[in-house]
């Protein structure tokens, strides 16, 4: 009979850091961390020493000084006497504007092209294949420049609208397509409830939110009715009314009028100007990223088992309903994660705006401000902080959405 003995109680020896698998990985991680810290310390120290040797320092006080330059597209009040910080804010909003617009249109292009590429119609599917391959394989910077150059070369300048024998004319007397941008009528309120127009627009937004809530309630009511009786009440008219009636009433009360663009002096004035650089950047980012999204969508759809389509068809569903009710909801689980990357890419690629003179944050803070003040390190650190924050925010929001559509296991 053998007796059970305790395993020998070995003390900790230094060699165990290398030889014992329990400690080895930890040892290497600690070493790697020390080396990394030393590298950072060396580089940082080098930077500080060299800055001191050159008589420079890191300071953000320049942000409060007047910028001294003008920006052609601004979503907030800005003139050349505003501070560099304000100029950076203008650029930041411009970046977000083009990123949001491009994310929306790229998704639309992508979904349409992705679905159509799987079409049974040979011509349509091949056309989409050509679109995807051409746009995906040429750098976005080149697309931006191509579109911008075409716009400035093909569209007429404002001076061609002038005079009795003008060679260009406005569409419906209200839309002007020029090589500086597109001018469209601007809505405004004659007897708005608030003094400022932006407050009135908030009211309109609130109206839309109310309509959306009402439409949602109608849907919920229809769902419960369907579940209890098996018959879904007709809701189309109701939902349409929920959207239109409050909107029309609001517009009537506030007195919606349109301000048309007019040729005055050198340029068109009045109305809303959508600048050429914005259009070129927006469109280029949309079609370029749209081609990538199209491939994601195609992959997502092909990932759904063919049996699902066949089963749905066997139930008597029409092809469009099969796509909308059976295939796409399942495909979304595959589509969304790479879609997040594409949204991030749009935001980051918008920094190519400088190529066409669009005043995004890379052009204002990272371009003109950096150049006029010479504060390269400060400006680039701020830029990095901004793009990082923007990217992480997009990532977070999209991940929340992803969690809401992913396969729920009960």
């Amino acid at each position: 009979m053998s007796t059970l003995t305790d395993p020998p109680n070995e003390g900790f020896r230094l060699s165990m850091l290398i030889n014992d698998t329990r400690y080895r990985s930890l040892t290497f991680q600690v070493i790697a961390a020390i080396v990394l810290a030393l590298c950072i310390w060396y580089l940082g120290n080098n930077l500080i020493q060299n800055l001191r040797a050159a008589g420079l320092n890191i300071s953000y006080t320049f942000l409060g000084d007047p910028a001294g330059y003008d920006i052609n597209q601004r979503l907030v009040e800005y003139d050349s006497q505003s501070s560099h910080a304000k100029a950076a804010l203008v650029g930041l909003l411009n970046t977000l504007l083009v990123a949001v617009l491009a994310c929306i249109t790229a998704t639309v292009f992508g979904v349409v092209a992705g679905v159509l590429r799987l079409s049974n119609n040979w011509l349509v599917s091949k056309l989409m294949a050509v679109y995807v391959e051409i746009f995906r394989n040429i750098p976005v910077l080149i697309w931006i420049i191509i579109i911008f150059t075409i716009m400035t070369a093909v569209l007429p300048g404002p001076r061609e609208f002038r005079g009795d024998n003008a060679t260009a004319s406005m569409v419906f007397d209200s839309f002007a397509f020029t090589n500086r941008g597109i001018y469209v009528p601007m809505p405004w309120f004659e007897n708005g409830i608030f003094a400022s127009t932006s407050m009135n627009w908030l009211l309109v937004l609130a109206g839309f939110a109310g309509s959306w809530l009402a439409a949602h309630q109608i849907n919920v009511w229809a769902n419960t009715k369907q579940e209890s009786t098996g018959v879904r009440p007709k809701t189309t008219a109701l939902i349409l009314a929920a959207w239109l009636v409050p909107f029309l009433a609001l517009m009537l009360i506030m007195g919606l009028t349109w301000e048309y663009p007019e040729l005055k002096g050198f340029n068109f004035s009045g109305g809303i100007k959508v600048g050429g650089p914005l259009i070129a950047l927006w469109f280029a980012l949309s079609i370029y990223t749209g081609a990538f999204i199209a491939e994601n969508v195609r992959a997502g759809i092909q990932a759904v088992s063919k049996g699902q389509t066949e089963a749905a068809s066997a139930l008597g569903l029409r092809p469009r309903r099969v796509m909308n009710l059976v295939v796409l909801p399942q495909a979304l689980r595959v589509i969304i994660p790479p879609l997040i990357s594409n949204f991030l890419n749009i935001t980051k690629n918008s920094s190519l705006a400088i190529a066409v003179g669009y005043a995004d944050i890379t052009a204002t803070l990272g371009g003109i401000t950096l150049n006029q003040t010479g504060r390269a390190i400060e400006c680039v650190l701020l830029l990095m902080l901004f793009y990082l924050t923007a990217s992480l925010t997009i990532s977070m929001v999209m991940n929340v959405y992803n969690a809401s559509v992913k396969l729920k296991e009960r």
Binding site: L47, G55, D70, T152, R180, F266, G367, V380
Partner: protein
Amino acid sequence: MKKSVILGAMTFAGLAAGAASAGTLDDVKARGKLNCGVTTGLVGFAAPNANGEWEGFDVAVCRAVAAAVLGDSNAVEFVPTTGKTRFTALASGEIDLLARNTTWTFSRDVDLKFEFVGVNYYDGQGFMVPKELGVSSAKELDGATVCIQTGTTTELNLADFFRSNNISYEPVPIETNAEAQQQYLAGACDVYTTDASGLAATRATFDDPSSHVILPEIISKEPLGPLVRHGDNEWGDVARWTLNALIAAEELGVTSANLSEMSAGTENPEINRLLGTEGTLGEMLGLSADWAKNAIASQGNYGEIFAKNIGEDTPVGLARGLNAQWTEGGLLYAPPLR
């Protein structure tokens, strides 16, 4: 985050490390080549010709300095820079000298830590418009769209000019002169503004230069000159006195034609000192005695360089104006070489 900070820090550390090395003169001699920053292309000032050789008014400064230091006016590596990249290129040590119609301003001198070695062209900001617009004064430009190179002093002057005259404009920011020209000709902007010399140089390349007018208003002082990094005084002296030698040569009547004759020795002691037959000016600079002779031999004196590249007989067609010698009523005045 960590990763990007490291990469960013590395970039800047790399830049700053370059800037810290002193003794540019020794570096240039050891390298056997001068790295000179010029524009990305402005006819008359700096542009590659049909054979791919850089030539122009600013290029001549680079070549003169190379000739003075290395005895060879072709020992130059031309580095094209834009309005935005020029200062980083100089500060980081990528180039030894920036000769790129750059305006001498207080903040560039004091805050950005550069040293302007003199003025090779006295300029001012002007406006160019198509003749068909019928504009005769810059004050009539209310509401105009203006093409402007970003990151330049002209951008700031433009904002000030329109604000002080209480008129509005819409800026179209542009990176290089070539882009500005394309935008302007396509009618994407009504007005192109930059230094008057640059406007003249740009207009010279148009198919029909006579259908564009340069408005009479000059809205700023733009003393353009070569610059070096602050804190390397020996190198600054070399650049400064090479430029002064070119200017003094014109004043003293030394030209590329009579240079060999004059360098044999003349009655005028100042010419003798300039050309190294008397005194030790070259030695004081750490150069050979014939430094100025080499510089003048490469391109001629200031007047010859002006006439050959941007003068009235060239397509650019600029009059000497303020850039005449002080003896001719201009502003050019080289300090005495003694």
